[in-house]
Every structure is written in structure tokens, then in C-alpha cells.
Amino acid sequence: MPRIEIDGQELEVSAGTTIMEAATQLGIYIPFFCYHPKLSVAANCRMCLVDVEKQAKPLPACATPASDGMKISTSSRRARMAQQGVLEFLLINHPLDCPICDQGGECPLQDVTMGYANPHSLYTEEKRVVEDKDIGPLIATEMTRCIQCTRCVRFGQEIGGIMELGATGRGEKMAIGTYVGRAVRSELSGNMIDLCPVGALTSKPFRYRARSWELKHTPSLCPHCSTGCSTDVQSLGREVLRVTPRINEAVNEEWICDRGRFAYAGLGASDRITRPLLRVNGRLQEVSWAEALDAAAAGLEQVLAENGPDSVSGVISPQSTNEELFLFQGLLRGLGVQAIEHRLRQTDFRADAAMPLYPALNMSLEHLEGESLVFLCHAYPREQQPLTNHRLRKSVLAGGQVWAVDSVRREFNYPVHGLVAEAGQDAALYRTLARCVQGLAEEDGAGLPAEVLEAACALRDAADPLLLVGSGVLQHPGAAGLMAAIAELAEAAGARVGWLAEAANSAGAWLLGCVPGRLPGGVPAGTDSRPPAGGAWDARFRAWILMGVEPGLDAMAAVQARQSLADARFVLTISAFLGEAEAYADVVLPMAVWAESAGSYFNNEGRLQSFRAAVKASGEARPAWKILRVLADHLQVADLAFDDLDSVRSAWETRLGDFPLDVPAFGGFPEGLALMEGAGSPGEGCRILGDWSIYQGDPLVRRSVPLQQPAGCRLHPETAARQGLRDGDMVELQGPGGQGTQLPLALDAGVAPGAIWLSLGHPGTQALGGVGATVVLARAGVSAGAQA
């Protein structure tokens, strides 16, 4: 253990500690630009030069290991001279355009200049100008400001996992850019904005919107996926202008994904509802809250009275807070309604009894980093839970192995062994694996693909493998059979199982009873309240209460949902956006969005985190918990008369009670569960596979213009060739109900032959029938390639 002295203070550090780290321990500041504790040490900016006794030259604190007896001065004349000299070099070609720079006020170069610059520059030559590049809709570049610290380049290689930015040229011509001005695609790209120590990379959507010091900072949570990243919502007046990560080592370290960073741009969407709406003579009209609430209560009461509580279905977004979820189920159950659902993307509910208390990771996010063998079961965390995925990436970098079993080969940002099921044969693949692991298939192992055997061997030989169940399992038309097969595999391999929960508060929705048949705390609802075959959209329902959802885009059974809602006697929509509700809602109550409201979420680990409102609600929009509370009043539902959010929280906490963070991943499956596997290539058509992309998965993010990417479809080259289709063709797709849409085609050998991969969540793709349905393809018009 080396003992060293920095600026007269003595310290014992562990071997390998750098001078920078040691100084940080002592609270001594050394200026730096290229150094970042989460990135490799480049030692290129030279700003952190310090004076080390008996050394001929000043040494970079970031890269120099402390050795026993070292006496370091961070501010001796020699150190100051070195630091001042380096800073002058950094400034000679920096444009010093701080007045029009978005980095102003939060710029390390400005700050260090304050403390270390020589007030008079000796530089009188012409300054360098660097050509600017367009690297996409998220990051604005002003490369003349760049100080070539290469943090962004190292981020791409080391954290983002795809190298998109590089430092090209050499010497004073060295410049940062993408390959020939290509747009950055990484789902973590926005972090480079935070890392950039100057105004070279800034947020494009935020550009010139405000000065950083004018912004109000509200600690918040990301409302999208189940990782539950800590964020800082920055606002000016009533407008959210920026979202950045807050450091939370246990959850998101210091990163967030681009969905969490840029989805706020959807807050100001043109269909934002700021006043209650009531359908009068077939058209929605703005009305007062009183009118709207009366109409909502009256509409519901009428259906309840005439058709009974079993004719009402309540669907709430899994991005709702615990408070909202608790009140929602309380309201509906108070009305006698049993059909309470948050699972928009699931269509097979036969194994509800086997579902865990909540979709629990069953470990901490940090511990994921240490896993040696992880099997992702129909999971694509890179898009669904990007910062959870980052932990898996770290496990691979540390020597672990990740296998991805799925119905399609996904693109990961680290090496993954992929295992793709034949079209419609997903459960069969898990069963085969289970048999192989048990050795039952040894005699016929020769007939199996090498990668299946390899996967089985990896599982069999692993000391303590982990299966992670992803949302692709629940989205499968035979989800129950798939789950049972995964449970079989887990048993055969002696593997631990965790769930990758889908949305920000899927966990809360389970824990607080927003599923049929389970009350808060997972208590059985008593009566047989299993969902009907058609789930929340079953034709038996006559009225719906929808909160925060757009079934036409969010539901796997979107076609059925739209039909049911169109045929309904009464639909109450509580939402921030009008969207498709214009077609079917009878009453629309405008609710506050996440940044305008407060509440709490359970993340994938079962970690309870809460956030408060950053801005005032838009117009007459109200926090959803208040809307539910007032509705309960109007509908005379007892026990929900809470005065404030804290009392809602106390109430659900009491009902939920203590619960274990780690829970059995599966309960018992029903006997004789049919797999419901589909044929590979049903007749003329192709079997639909697909998923909601990272930027399409909820009402807010799909309204964020800078994040939007067009819908498309992907086919195996063989399938395409059979149909006479080529890469880039526009393809005409016909769903089972005759609905059609046109999508650009990309060829992808990672899609099983006979299947077609669709980006879900777009109006066109949602009309086709969902995963497992069959579409017929034809070439539409001329190919994009031929046009170009």
C-alpha cells in the first residue's frame, strides 16, 4: 500500500491508484478534460499535469500510478506553469464564442479557464476553423469548439459498444466525426453530449432554447423502461427543455438512453389535451371539468346498471405510478369490475396463475455485471432496457457469456451467441434445449443444429446460469406454452430465472393489483376472474376505462381493440394525448404527464423510487391520481377519499405490506398446456414477428419528433427471393382482415425463413394483426433502389 503526499497531505492508497484518484480521495481538485472515471485513460489533454518530486517533467495525474514515497504538488509553480501552458494551447484555437454556445454555464473549459488561464493570450495567428458535420437529429455539432479530448470516441468504443465517432486526420488537423457524415445510431448517444467538456457536442432539440443557468432542475425518474434510471428534468417556466441523467451508481451509473433523454420532446405534441372533451352529436367538444366528470360518471353508471360490472374493462398503462395503479384498481373494483389490465402486449393469459408476484429481476442490477452465463429468453434489453443491457455488456467484457434465444437475430452492442427459433417454433426450441441439457437427446443429438448443442453444453457446464425472461415471451401468441417451456429449461439446467420487466412500472402494476384475479400484494381476488379469451378487448365488454394508453398502437391485439372500442357503448379515456381516442372516446379527461406529476415506481429490481413534478400541468390537465380520486367521488366508491399523494402512498403501502424482492419466477402451470405453436410458412403468407422499437413503445416517446424512425419490414433473403422481392423494395402487406399497408423492405438473414419482421407500434403495422398473424406480401410499385 503506497503512502504518498499530495499538497502536504499524507495518504495511503491501494496499489494501482492514480494520482488523480488519490487527489479525489483527499478532496484536492486537479483540472482535467480528457479524464473520466468511467472511460479508459487517454492522458492526451495534459491539463492534469502535476509536479512530482524527483521527476524531471510534470506528470499527468490521471495516468500516473501513485508509488510509495511520492511527493506531489498540484499547485507548485512548476505545476501551475504546466497547467497554464496547456490551457493556453487549448484556447488558442478555441473560438471563445461562449455567448452563443449552449455549453455556456456548464462548460468545464470555461470553468478551468476561470481558475487557470493566463489573462493575456500570446496567440496572434489565425484560428483554426473545423468543418461542421450533421450527425443526426439528436446531437448538434460545432466542431471548431472541439478540444480533441476523445471522450466521445472512447464512449462509443467502451460504453456504447458501437464505434460511430472517430478522430480522423492527424496533428492539428485531427477532427472528430462519424464515417462520412453518417448519423449516430447508438441508443446511448446522448451521453456523449454530457461527456463533451466543451460545446462541440450539444443537444440538438435543446439548441438555443435557454441558457443553462436559467433552468430549474428537478430530480426525477425515467418513465419508460423497467430499469428506472435517475434523471434530472430541466425546465423553464412550464416547459421541460432538457432531461439528463443523475448519478445513481446502483441503477444507471451516470448514463441514460436516448429514449429517456429525448422523449420529453413529445410533451408538446400537437394533440396534447389541455381541456376535458365530451362527445356531443358525434364530435368531441371542449367542456368544463364538471360537465366532463358528470358525463363520465353517467356513462359508466348506465352501462353498469344495464349490462352489469362484468361488461366493463379497465386498461391502465404500465407506466402509471403506484398511486395511480392503486387508485385505478380500487375504483374499478369498487364498482364491481374485475377486468383490470395493464398488459397491452399480451394475448395469451392461460398461464396467469404461473406468473410471479411481480416480474422481478431477482437480483440487483449491479450483480448482473458479474454473471458468467446469461440466457436471454426472447429478450432484447438493448432496446427495451438499455441500461440493464449495459450491465450485461459489462458482464461480457469481463469474460461472461450471453446467449440470446429469440424468434429473430437481434443486433447487440457486445458479442452475443444467437439462437433463432424456426418461424413459430419458439417453445419447441426451449424444449429441445431442455432435453439436450438433460442428456435425453444425446442419441439424436446428431440431427440438431450445432448451435443448439453448443447452447445446451454451455448451460449444462455453467456453474450457476441465469435465464432472463423478456417481453418477447409475453408478446408471443402462445406465451403460456413458451413460459412453461422456459420453466422446463430452467429446471433442467438448474438455472436461476429473472424477468426483464417491460415498462417503467410493470412491477408496480402486478404488485398493486392491476391484473385480473390479483388484488394488491398478489392476494387472489377470490372469484374466478380470469380474463376472457379476448383479454381486455373481449367482445363481452361494453364499456372501457382507458388510462394513458393508445390501444390501437400499444396493444398486440390492436385490430380487435379498435373494433371493440368502436363498437363500445361507452369509452372513458384518461390521457395526455388525444390521438386515436378521437375516434372512439365518449369522454376524454386530460391528465398530467410524468414531468407534471408526482408519484413512485417499482423498478425491475423491486426498488421503490419516487419523483416529484417538475413543471405545472398543461392547461386544465390534472394529475391522474386526482382524476381517479374525483371519479371515485362521483361514482360513490368508498375508501378512496385521499387528500394528498402521501396518503395514497400510505394506503397502498399498508395494503401491499412487506414483500420479498426475490420471488419464484414461475408458479404452477396448468396441466396439458397446448404450445399453440404456429406453422413456419402458413400458405401463401408470412408469419408476423415483431416488436415495438425503442422509440415507438409508448404514447410519449412516439410523439418525440427527433427520435422518430420510419416503420419497415425485414425478410430472410430466401423468403424475399421466393416472393420476388429485393432489398429496398416497397412491399404491400395484406393482413387477415384485408387491411393493407406499405413498408420498405430490408433483407436480414436473422429473420427465420417464412416469417416477416415488422416494427410494431406504427398505425400501418398495428392494423395487420400482431405477432403470429399471417400477412400476404406483394411488391408495390418501383423499388426504392430503382428510383434512386
Binding site: 464505434m163 472517430g166 492527424r170
Partner: protein, 163 residues
């Protein structure tokens, strides 16, 4: 985008390095690609990166770092005249001036017939033979205006084997 011969040559270079170190062959692969195409268009850099399973930007970084890669078309004969100190002391500026006058184009430019490009480069490591230039695979040493005129005449006459 590359001929069988070029691909085979890249494979030979690849074999010099440990199997997991494909990136080591990047400099060679870019050189071989440039030799076939005359220069390195962006699509070719990306193609070469793909051959070695590297990000395109990584290959582009290398292609822009080293001075022997040409990212824009150059003439059939590129006169790379050394202008570093020993050649300078032996009249390299005069050599460059003579070339520019004789060929009617400036530094970094190519004659309209696509035959000649003039470039000034830094030390070629042949200081005792100053002034010197690199011409394709060979060095031309102790240059004089007269020797250059002879050389240009020979090259125009289609002889590229001259020494």
C-alpha cells in the same frame, strides 16, 4: 469491390498476425485496395473495414492518419518530392518549382491528362541521395531539373519501368 488477387493478398497479410488480431492487417488491406483502385473512395474504405469486421470509422481514422493513403483521385504518376531538411538544403524547392512549371499544375494538383500529380512530402529517409522523390514503388534520387525532364518524357512515352 476488390479482385481475387487483391483479396488473396489481403488474406496473406492477415495470416501474418494472430487469428484474433485481424485489425493488424488494416494498414495492408487499405494499401492493397488503394493499389487496385488508384485511391481510396469512401465506399472502398468501408468495404475494407467490412473485410476485417471493423467499424467503418476505425478504418477511416487510419486512412486519414497515414500520409500514403489517397482519399481523392491522383494521377497515374504521383511525384512525392521530399522537402525535409537535407533535401531542402540540396535544392528541393527548386525541384518542386521546376515540376510545377513543367507540368503546369500546382502542389497537390493533377495534370488534366490524369498522368501526373505533384506532392511535397516530409522526410523519405534517403537524405544522402537528396534531393529525392518517391514515385510509386521506387525512389528517384539526386534529382535535377534535367533528370526530371528526361523522366517525364519517358513516362509520357509510356515507359513506367524507368529508374
Amino acid at each position: 469491390m476488390l479482385s481475387e488477387a487483391s483479396l488473396a493478398e489481403i488474406a496473406r497479410e492477415r495470416a501474418k498476425y494472430p487469428p484474433e488480431r485481424a485489425r493488424s492487417a488494416l494498414l495492408a488491406a487499405l494499401r492493397i485496395a488503394q493499389a487496385e483502385h488508384g485511391y481510396l473512395p469512401e465506399t472502398l474504405v468501408e468495404y475494407v473495414a467490412g473485410l476485417l469486421e471493423l467499424p467503418a470509422i476505425q478504418a477511416f481514422e487510419v486512412a486519414t492518419f497515414y500520409s500514403m493513403y489517397d482519399l481523392r483521385p491522383v494521377g497515374k504518376y504521383k511525384f512525392c518530392v521530399c522537402g525535409s531538411v537535407s533535401c531542402f538544403l540540396n535544392g528541393s524547392d527548386g525541384i518542386l518549382a521546376h515540376l510545377q512549371e513543367r507540368l503546369g499544375v500546382g502542389l497537390g494538383e493533377t495534370t488534366p491528362d490524369g498522368l501526373f500529380t505533384i506532392a511535397e512530402v516530409e522526410c523519405l529517409g534517403a537524405c544522402k541521395d537528396a534531393p529525392v522523390m518517391q514515385l510509386g514503388d521506387r525512389y528517384v534520387e539526386t534529382l535535377t531539373p534535367e533528370s526530371l525532364d528526361v523522366l517525364i518524357g519517358q513516362l509520357r512515352g509510356g515507359r513506367d519501368d524507368v529508374r
